[in-house]
């Protein structure tokens, strides 16, 4: 197997799987499930091969595979990864089999279509993280919306149509503006490299050469699209609806991977392509991020629906990521990347656990619960660990991300005030408030609802899923170096591309 084609294998395995799925009889639901799961596991295996061959010392793109596509516009099929994309690629291919496994029982209508869309979704997500051509990136970025739209719209809750349409239109609006910006950028490339191009590696030299106000507009166009996806305050309102209505698998994917595309886009495109603009807007976006941190946490506090609570907590956590990115220091950027992975694991775990209990009791209202500790002890322990990881308890993953981000934001010469850190840190208190409060109301106390008395505890399949997430929740918390060292050269490269002001020297 050629090393440089490995990414293409990863990209097309789920696609092939999705197509093969069409020949299955729709009645053979279990075979379909097993087939979908095996395809996604194979994809994960291939990603692990990439990991084993990845050279973390090299800050550039690796496993690059380039094939001309639309030759007269210099658009090519160009894929490759660096440390940043590798981490997110691993997250994507790791989470997808788990989500398929989590919907083993929960999805029992149209299993074939569901598995088909999930595999297509995986293609889109992988494509976004490996594309090195803006046009190709855009194709995947948009393509991914379609399966997600159907997953929410078909297997969702009561208001699924409203939620899926809202999700689709919201993100679509942003994407179209980005498309205009991509074309504009491609055309301006003519002035620098002599021809129209959407190749990212070439554009890295084009963007910074543009005039300041050109950069500003292009930056804003990209950033708007990404900000909607993240979602950054005040563009976040599609998220609670989408999460609440989506089936468990959809929520997990949405939280774990889809939201990361926005932050990934910021690091991959916004910063290196438009460095001057990025520095100009960094304080502004950081302010929005900090507002998001506090706002999301406060709004989460009074939610009555468990899924909505977790959704708003996402707004808060992603605020940390954005703050980390725009503080533009090595620590904060690394923190942001590890926080992306963390949020995928912890919030993924939280959505999964909400799904587990919803499957049994068909309610997500916090007030319907109480006293679960006695009925479902394993579940209670799992929910506690997931909540603590989300709260940022040292020893678990969440702490590492928040700690590095706050550390970096504190010393950031760009933000140049520690107000950001102090306000963001209050978000840490609030996250403890809303999660522990929810935990208390759901798990502690006495059983009020007689219907709850005979809920079965987590079964082996569910324990397996949670345990898989737990391994990494603890691993990152105890020894983050394993993960940090994958991406540190890549973040350093981005920071050099942005050419941030050198950190203030402190005399020794």
């Amino acid at each position: 197997m050629e090393t440089n084609q490995l990414l293409s294998y990863i990209l097309f395995t789920p696609l092939l799987g999705a197509l093969l799925l069409l020949v299955f009889q729709r009645e053979n639901e279990n075979e379909i499930r097993i087939f979908g799961l095996s395809i996604s596991v194979i994809t994960f295996g291939l990603t692990l091969m990439v990991l084993s061959k990845f050279d973390s010392i090299n800050p550039g793109f690796q496993f690059v595979h380039k094939v001309p596509w639309i030759t007269n516009l210099n658009i090519s099929y160009h894929v490759g990864i660096d440390g940043l994309s590798l981490l997110l690629l691993l997250l994507t291919t790791f989470i997808t089999p788990l989500t398929l496994l989590s919907s083993w029982k929960a999805i029992n209508k149209k299993v074939k279509e569901f598995t088909f869309f999930m595999l297509l979704l995986e293609v889109g997500m992988i494509g976004v993280f490996v594309s090195l051509d803006l046009f190709l990136f855009y194709v995947f970025w948009e393509a991914m919306l379609i399966p997600m739209y159907f997953i929410i719209g078909i297997w969702g809750g009561e208001r699924r149509i409203y939620a899926s349409v809202k999700f689709f239109l919201f993100t679509m609006t942003g994407s179209l503006i980005m498309l205009v910006a991509i074309i504009w950028l491609g055309v301006s490339a003519g002035g620098v490299v002599g021809h129209f191009t959407t190749d990212l590696v070439e554009l890295y030299s084009v963007g910074p050469a543009l005039a300041k106000n050109f950069q500003n507009w292009l930056f804003l166009a990209f950033a708007l699209s990404f900000a909607i996806k993240i979602p950054l305050f005040p563009l976040h309102t599609w998220l609670p609806d989408a999460h609440v209505e989506a089936p468990t698998a959809g929520s997990i994917i949405l939280a774990a991977v889809l939201l990361k595309m926005g932050t990934y886009g910021l690091i991959r495109f916004c910063l290196p392509l438009f460095p001057e603009a990025a520095i100009t807007f960094a304080p502004f976006l950081s302010v929005l991020a900090v507002i998001g941190i506090i706002y999301g946490a406060l709004v989460a506090m009074v939610q009555k629906d468990m899924k909505k609570l977790v959704a708003y907590s996402s707004v808060s956590h992603l605020g940390f990521v954005v703050l980390g990115i725009f503080a533009m220091t090595q620590e904060s950027m690394q923190g942001a990347i590890i926080q992306m992975v963390n949020h995928g694991l912890s919030t993924g775990a939280l959505f999964f656990l909400v799904g587990v209990i919803y499957e049994r009791s068909h309610t997500r209202e916090i007030s319907d619960y109480g006293g679960l500790a006695k009925i479902v002890p394993v579940y209670s322990a799992a929910l506690l660990i997931a909540s603590l990881s989300s709260i940022g308890l040292p020893g678990l993953n969440g702490f590492i991300g928040e700690f590095l981000i706050l550390l970096g934001a504190f010393k950031s010469p760009l933000l140049n005030t520690w107000g950001f850190t102090v306000f963001a840190a209050t978000g840490v208190i609030f996250s403890a408030v809303y999660l522990l409060w929810m935990y208390q109301r759901v798990i502690f106390g006495v059983v009020k609802n007689p219907k709850m008395e005979h809920l079965p505890d987590m079964n082996k399949r569910e324990i397996f899923i949670f345990a898989s997430l737990l391994i990494f929740i603890v691993w990152i918390g105890v020894y983050p170096n394993t993960f940090l060292k994958i991406s540190d050269r890549s973040t350093a490269r981005v920071l050099i591309q942005v050419n941030t002001p050198v950190p203030r020297e402190i005399p020794k």
């Binding site: 800050p59 809202k166 239109l169 919201f170 005040p234 976040h236 309102t237 599609w238 706002y295 406060l298 709004v299 506090m301 009074v302 939610q303 090595q330 620590e331 690394q334 006695k374 603590l388 308890l393 040292p394 020893g395 702490f399 590492i400 590095l404 706050l406 550390l407 504190f410 010393k411 520690w418 850190t421 102090v422 840190a425 209050t426 840490v428 208190i429 609030f430 403890a432 408030v433 522990l436 409060w437 208390q440 798990i443 502690f444 106390g445 020894y479 983050p480 170096n481 940090l484 060292k485 540190d488 050269r489 973040t491 350093a492 490269r493 920071l495 050099i496 402190i506 005399p507 020794k508």
Partner: protein, 709 residues
């Protein structure tokens, strides 16, 4: 024993309880006696701490043993330097004495719990949590850097959360656990900001390296003001953890947890971690910071002492007493009496653990009755509990021959000396007032519980002395409340090994003019005493001390006897008053309470702290959170839906426009053509004659036209 062996022992001490926790947690369901594993683990841990203590103090009394490794490393391209965050161990006298205390009390509490928790549904789980706590607490004590301390700081927070809310079916218990965690987090955010400031300035979290750089003149933002701020921010962590004013409100509620837990976590060890933190960062505290710390300490000593006077729950009295004593230690640190603060931390740990376990023994005997007004006469039923409780109470009240007398006297002496040098006489006044209140409320507690007539005859009749596993810890702890463990001289501990050999006040790193004037190093004299020379090199040799000015030494010396006699006097007064009110009943306490009703109510209702916080901070947070949720639903999302509505209107308008105007025009054209067609159709008769006529007619016209042009 080499230094390396000692580090190995320290690593084992840290991780053994974690092993116990994990084992009992996973196998607690299957193996009925899994708790025995945890108990043997903790016993081994205790033996190891004893070995560590003995070897460290015998062979390396003046040496700091350090071992570290790189935890987080962010490497990168040459342009931006590498970042490494180190974790590691520090074994100095402070940490080995503290770890020994923690392990000893933890072991005793484990043993006590065997009987106390018998029959609990989650018996094994309880021991697992104790293991988790011991692990976290050891981390705080053994670490050589502030970050690792913070990490374990949060971990003790979570084990405390789990243990306070252990009986989670009680709403009050789960509320208390949550409250403890959240109030602590408020303090921790301050501490975290302080840590950020430290790292931003010194690029390290390691205590020693911070001190060395600071002594060499590096300050946060190059200003003494910011140094003060840094110190106070770090102190915020201690305010939370050690339940100091104004964050003390969580500790009394924490008494919802099982009583042995209160003894271990909320009296002896975890709450003392705040004081331990201040000891650790002592070299970076400026005079201004220390003064504020002293004020906080004094307030925390006085206010809870006044509350303890009127409480009727045996554990609540002890809880407020704990806050008050912790305030004592913090005040002592603030006025420069570093050694005595740490001394009191250790002595208090033993006698307060003894008191809590004693109260556990009482509660156990009385079938979970905690109200002291319903007890009485238990002396006869529980003679051993009574004896140990009495010894510990005497120690807490500061009566000679006890350890508490020595350490408390030292603190009072320190405040006295401080006042005589700086004129702040409110500190010793607070100190002596608290000494009197303490003696009073402790003897009120003893008289109501153990003396007089039993008020609840039925429970009294069923009361019985506790079994051996509960009695043994009481005996051990009460023995440790006697003076001879710390010094051979029962009235003056200065010459004893604890204060003269083991614990030394650290050298300050703070710039000279930011210190208290009496802590300024006398440059000329200290060079000869190799003071300054040592500050600058980064060796980890201990044995350096704050060089106090002559005046301070003299003031301390002069303060010794006045402080001692005065403290004896006030303690005796407190005890006598307690007897007058509750034993001889010469004056009715109820009548007095009615006479000074507003004061009584203030004390009884705990100065309304909870009510005030609920009405302000909690209400504000919940209010803004509700408002924002509304805002999000109606304004932010409203805007989105508004855009959608406008789009729908626009499209429905365009739709109308399209169907009426645009399509109307098209239809008009069609209609018009149709109309023309209608007329022209008349000519389409299909008869050849008509066509012929038309052709001829047309030809005539055409020809005519041609002719005219």
């Amino acid at each position: 024993m080499t230094e390396f062996n000692l580090i190995q022992i320290a690593v084992a001490i840290l991780f053994l309880p974690l092993v116990g926790f994990a084992f009992v947690l996973f196998f607690g369901k299957k193996i009925k006696n899994a708790y025995l594993f945890e108990i043997s683990i903790i016993t081994v841990t205790f033996i190891l701490t004893a070995v560590l203590l003995f070897n460290k103090l015998s062979w390396f009394p003046d040496k700091n043993i350090v071992s570290e490794f790189s935890w987080i490393r962010i490497q990168n391209l040459a342009v931006l330097g590498n970042i490494s965050i180190d974790l590691g161990f520090l074994l100095d006298n402070l940490s080995v004495i503290m770890i020994f205390t923690v392990a000893l009390i933890s072991m005793l509490v484990h043993i006590f719990s065997i009987a106390y928790m018998k029959g609990d549904r989650l018996y094994n789980r309880y021991f697992a949590y104790l293991g988790l706590f011991t692990f976290s607490m050891s981390g705080i004590v053994l670490t050589h850097n502030i970050l690792m301390m913070y990490i374990f700081w949060e971990l003790v927070g979570i084990s405390s959360y789990l243990l306070i809310g252990f009986w989670y079916e009680k709403k009050s218990a789960s509320d208390a656990g949550k409250k403890a965690f959240l109030v602590n987090r408020i303090g921790d955010i301050g501490m975290f900001s302080g840590i950020m400031l430290i790292f931003n300035t010194y690029h390290t979290f390691t205590f020693d390296k911070i001190f060395t750089q600071m002594a060499a003149g590096t300050l946060p933002f190059n200003s003494e003001f910011w140094l003060t701020v840094t110190g106070l921010l770090l102190f915020c962590g201690a305010v939370g953890k050690s339940a100091q004013f104004p964050l003390h409100v969580w500790l009394p509620d924490a008494m919802e947890g099982p009583t042995p837990v209160s003894a271990l976590i909320h009296a002896a060890t975890m709450v003392a971690a705040g004081v331990f933190l201040v000891c650790r960062i002592y070299p970076i505290l400026t005079g201004n910071a220390l003064f504020i710390i002293a004020v906080i300490g004094a307030l925390s000593a006085v206010i809870p002492a006044t509350i303890a006077l009127t409480q009727n729950d045996i554990k609540k009295v002890l809880a407020y007493s704990t806050v008050s004593q912790l305030g004592y230690m913090v005040m002592a640190l603030g006025v420069g009496a570093y050694k005595f603060a740490f001394f009191h931390l250790i002595t208090h740990a033993f006698f307060k653990a003894c008191l809590f376990l004693g109260s556990g023994s009482v509660i156990h005997a009385m079938h979970h009755e905690q109200d002291i007004t319903k007890m009485g006469g238990l002396k006869k039923k529980l003679p051993l509990t009574y004896a140990t409780f009495l010894i510990a109470s005497l120690a807490l009240s500061g009566i000679p021959l006890t350890s508490g007398f020595l350490s408390k006297d030292g603190i009072l002496q320190g405040t006295f000396a401080f006042a005589s040098l700086t004129g702040h006489w409110l500190f010793p006044a607070a100190g002596f007032a608290v000494a009197m209140l303490t003696a009073f409320y402790m003897f009120r507690l003893i008289i109501l519980t153990f003396h007089g007539e039993p008020k609840n005859k039925e429970k009294y009749d069923h009361a019985h002395e506790s079994p051996f596993v509960m009695a043994m810890p009481l005996v051990v702890l009460s023995t440790l409340s006697i003076f001879f463990w710390y010094t051979p001289n029962p009235v003056n501990a200065d010459a004893g090994w604890f204060l003269s050999k083991w614990i030394k006040s650290p050298v300050l790193s703070v710039p000279q003019n930011a210190r208290y004037s009496f802590m300024k190093t006398d440059v000329v004299s200290s060079v000869s005493k190799e003071g300054i020379a040592d500050i600058n090199n980064s060796t980890t040799v201990e044995g350096k001390e704050i060089v106090y000015s002559e005046a301070y030494t003299e003031a301390m010396h002069h303060a010794h006897y006045p402080a001692m006699f005065l403290s004896l006097l006030v303690a005796a007064l407190g005890i006598v008053f307690a007897f007058i009110f509750y034993y001889w009943k010469k004056i009715s306490a109820d009548k007095l309470a009615a006479d000074i009703e507003p004061l009584y109510k203030l004390s009884f209702n705990k100065w309304y702290f909870d009510e005030i916080y609920n009405a302000t901070a909690v209400a504000f947070t919940m209010g803004s959170s509700r408002f924002l949720a509304w805002f999000d639903m109606n304004i932010v999302d409203g805007a989105v839906n508004g855009v959608a509505t406008v789009t729908r209107w626009t499209s429905s308008f365009t739709g109308k426009f399209d169907s009426v105007i645009v399509d109307g025009l098209v239809n008009l054209v069609a209609y018009f053509s149709g109309f023309i067609g209608l007329i022209l159709r008349r000519f389409q008769t299909g008869k050849v004659q008509t066509y012929l006529v038309l052709v001829v007619f047309s030809l005539v016209i055409i020809l005519y036209l041609f002719k005219t042009f």
